[in-house]
């Protein structure tokens, strides 16, 4: 692999790893605080899936990047070095807000991993083969809850709509690409992520409408910048909690 492609690939793999780690961390915050026991367990299960996926991706990035390990990516980088989608770092809010985030993210990630099944990079296609099975469950979980809350009581509908609306401005950023992605697309290693938005919109719209909710304005203003390490203020709080132990006790093992 040429050096150029190698460094482009590292950027893409770390982006995907960051999405998984940060969203997994956010969902783990529901542990012991779920609305009821089964959902508490579901959230923790889903969080584990994402953290497991992050480990696979970070290990691969480390292998590509001169032998760094997964802990380096999770514990030794600062905010601006994380390139997760802004949506992944948004606070959990109420359960409706978390469900809206899961709907937006899991539909995106499922489509991305489905496309990555055809990647010419064997590690990425191997990762995708595992991830799609887990993500299929996440999509179903998020869709079921969107329907139940949206088409539920007046209160649940109001809260679900609130989540859908509040998080809308972070969704375009899921599809952000870098100039360096182009050579990966040309080499058949990754799909053109930006081109996946149309299909995502259709799917999300279908669930939102079936849930008797109102689809947000597709042309509304959108936040961006995550792939260049520009974040919302939320990332700092996440990183400081996530990295506290390794910063306080460098090199410790447990």
């Amino acid at each position: 692999m040429s050096q150029g492609i190698n460094s482009s690939l590292i950027k893409f793999v770390v982006r995907l790893g960051d999405n998984n780690l940060i969203l997994g961390h956010r969902l783990s915050e529901w542990c012991s605080k779920g609305p009821f026991l089964e959902e508490d367990i579901a959230m923790s299960n889903i969080a584990l899936d994402y953290i497991g996926q992050a480990r696979v991706l970070y290990s691969y990035a480390g292998q590509l990047d001169g032998g760094k390990n997964e802990d380096y990516y999770a514990y030794e980088r600062r905010e601006h070095e994380f390139t997760n989608a802004l949506l992944c770092e948004t606070p959990n809010g109420d359960f409706g807000m978390t469900v809206a985030r899961q709907l937006y993210y899991s539909v995106f990630a499922y489509a991305l991993c489905n496309a990555l099944l055809k990647s010419k990079d064997e590690t990425l296609s191997g990762y995708a083969g595992k991830a799609v099975k887990e993500l299929a469950y996440h999509v179903r979980h998020a869709s079921d809850w969107t329907l139940r809350l949206g088409d539920g009581t007046e209160e649940s509908n109001k809260r679900m709509q609130h989540g859908i609306d509040e998080l809308w401005m972070y969704t375009h950023d899921l599809f952000a690409t870098l100039e360096s992605d182009k050579e990966l697309v040309a080499a058949g290693i990754i799909p053109d992520v930006a081109a996946m938005k149309g299909e995502w919109l259709e799917q999300v719209k279908d669930v939102i409408q079936r849930a008797t909710l109102t689809m947000p304005d597709v042309n509304a203003w959108q936040m961006e910048g995550s792939r260049k390490g520009r974040h919302t203020e939320n990332i700092g709080y996440i990183i400081s909690e996530l990295q506290y132990v390794t910063r306080a006790y460098p090199g410790c093992e447990w």
């Binding site: 089964e38 299960n45 899936d49 953290i51 996926q53 595992k130 099975k133 179903r140 979980h141």
Partner: protein
Amino acid sequence: MTKTIQLNTTERDPELWAIADSVVDPEIPVLTLVDLGVVRELKRMDKGVEVTITPTYTGCPAMDAMAADLKRAFEQKGFEPVTMKTVLSPAWTTDWLSDYAKEKLNKYGIAPPPNSTADKNALLGKPKEVKCPRCASNYTSMISNFGSTACKALWKCEDCKEPFDYFKCI
């Protein structure tokens, strides 16, 4: 029902596979890691042995324990060093559970996946019929798609009213 180990390796070293087959899943101790399909390849090296495993779920916290248990089992039989390798592809699937393994699961109180993943309904959350492992009734319903471990969902029996674990079909 007799046990047959179904794996895609053409030639298998009986001694190595017998050792691997003595190691049980830390959460579901009625299944060995061979029954579960987690052990993919065993290779004698000039010195020691190379053990290749695949995770059931990427985030399954039991994977570290599984790897450690396998390593210990081989070391106790005099194989050193034991090199552990993890592969992701082909992705682990419940299709690798033999009928023997499914029967053991059922007896243990965990409903096994009734259909193969080739049946798309399984992956989309509509298993054909999940039979209650206690009273064998088919009148069951899902409580939650996520259960006590990554590989299980929570179901209940509408006849005997007991909740039970269902091994998800993936």
